[in-house]
């Protein structure tokens, strides 16, 4: 598992979170956010983002494999 930390709060990020960051902020990003910080940054809810993760996986996105 990649060990990346949230740029804002330093919490450890899961593989799915890293993939979500890349999917929503761009594949070439170097800084990542945790679920709460990402939701805050995007003006969305954490539920919205969790649903997005599920959908991306169902769609077979390789970033989440």
């Amino acid at each position: 598992m990649l060990k990346a930390k949230c740029y804002h709060c330093d919490s450890l990020l899961s593989k799915d979170l890293i993939a979500l960051n890349r999917k929503l902020l761009g594949r070439s990003i170097k800084k990542y956010l945790c679920l709460d910080c990402l939701a805050d940054f995007l003006g969305a809810t954490t539920d919205d983002l969790l649903i997005k993760i599920t959908e991306f996986k169902e769609q077979g996105c390789d970033l989440f494999k």
Partner: protein, 380 residues
């Protein structure tokens, strides 16, 4: 998330209320099989033929030239495979363009797998196929030319009248995928000079799962399905009466309001561009600025990720589509955007906004604002 702003009308459109009303009896008490000979089939049978007449009038065709299908994909498949397989003694070459919908491209790939030759005409940076190119490529072996009337991604309207003339002069059949155009721009099959034309109801506020293929009288092709004698014996299958009726109502309404819709959508597009240009964002506009589908906006934004932008707009309740999509974890640029030669640093940031008659001025301004705010906010 507040109110949804739906701006992907090129993907599908909302079902028209009058179309829905017209469909309901055939989903309810008038459920007779239109192919049967008893009285209970009479009303559905009559409804189908009235729909056929309405649709034929909308494109200046004869009623017996309209064949109902399950939609644009079937119509495209039928036209291309049906003509190719019927005329293989004449020749086994098909000519199409590099920016066709996948229903056309994959039908052509299928034919290539069974020994046909397919020529894919390149297009200009505005998405136009060249008349000179077609003239060079068309030959004695050509059985069909298939060129779309309007492109689903970049909105460019092809010069079908001139292109079909070349095919007609060489006695080669001409098919046009008009799925994006029917109900949105004036269509006269005689002026266009086409022998076959595909359409799909859900692109013009009709129901999903139904469409039609226009087939000029005297044009012969392989039947699509075997079984009953529906659709003049050429496309067997119990008719989707409700869908056909809904399609006719939706098409007539759109055609009756064509010019007003066009003017309204052009106004919305102008307001969108005014707002976006004022933001200072570096973007290109794809497609022909003048000969394009009303309401179609396709832009490529420098150094952006189009898919990420689409998803971030989605999170804000704005629905658009992208010209770049995830494939094996990497971003792939659509074949249309590649074909028109958009520079890569812009191409990856392509989105398509297709506004419809139900969108408003506040909608398009909100879309422009949302794009601006996402880009200026950046990643981090």
């Amino acid at each position: 998330m507040g109110t949804l702003i739906y701006a992907d009308n090129a993907a599908t459109t909302q079902l028209d209320k009058d179309a829905l009303e017209a469909m309901l009896p055939f989903l309810n008490q008038e459920f007779g099989n239109a192919s049967n000979q008893y009285s209970f089939a009479r009303f559905p049978r009559k409804a189908i033929e009235e729909a056929r007449l309405i649709i034929s009038n909308c494109i200046n065709a004869r009623p017996d030239e309209i064949f109902f299908t399950s939609g644009g994909t079937e119509s495209d498949n039928w036209a291309i495979k049906g003509i190719a397989l019927k005329t293989q003694n004449k020749g086994k070459q098909i000519i199409t363009s590099s920016i066709e919908h996948h229903a056309v491209l994959h039908s052509c790939s299928f034919l290539e797998e069974i020994g046909y030759k397919v020529a894919y005409l390149p297009v200009s940076n505005q998405g136009h196929a060249s008349i000179d190119n077609l003239r060079e490529v068309i030959g004695t072996n050509t059985s069909l030319v298939s060129l779309m009337l309007a492109n689903n991604e970049i909105g460019t309207i092809q010069n079908i009248e001139e292109l079909s003339k070349i095919a007609n002069d060489r006695r080669v059949l001409f098919h046009s995928d008009a799925v994006q155009a029917v109900g949105h721009i004036p269509i006269d099959v005689n002026t266009l000079g086409v022998d076959l034309l595909s359409a799909s109801a859900h692109k013009f506020n009709g129901p999903k799962g139904v469409g039609f293929l226009y087939l000029r009288k005297g044009t012969d092709l392989l039947n699509w399905s075997s079984g009953g004698k529906q659709e003049f014996g050429r496309r067997s299958g119990t008719e989707n009466v409700a869908g056909i009726v809904g399609m006719a109502v939706a098409l007539k309404k759109n055609v009756d309001n064509l010019r007003a819709n066009e003017i309204y959508l052009q106004r919305l597009s102008s307001l969108f561009f005014e707002k976006l240009t004022g933001s200072g964002i570096d973007f290109l506009v794809n497609g022909d600025n003048y000969r394009r589908l009303p309401g179609n906006i396709n832009i490529s934004i420098r150094n952006q990720d189009g898919e990420a932008l689409m998803h971030r707009l989605d999170l804000k309740g704005i629905i658009v589509s992208t010209g770049s999509a995830c494939s094996s974890g990497k971003l792939d640029i659509s074949h249309v955007i590649k074909s028109i030669g958009v520079p890569r640093e812009y191409a990856l940031g392509t989105i398509r906004i297709s506004i419809g008659k139900d969108n408003s001025i506040p909608d398009v301004l909100a879309i422009a604002d949302a794009i601006t705010s996402i880009i200026l906010r950046g990643s981090m």
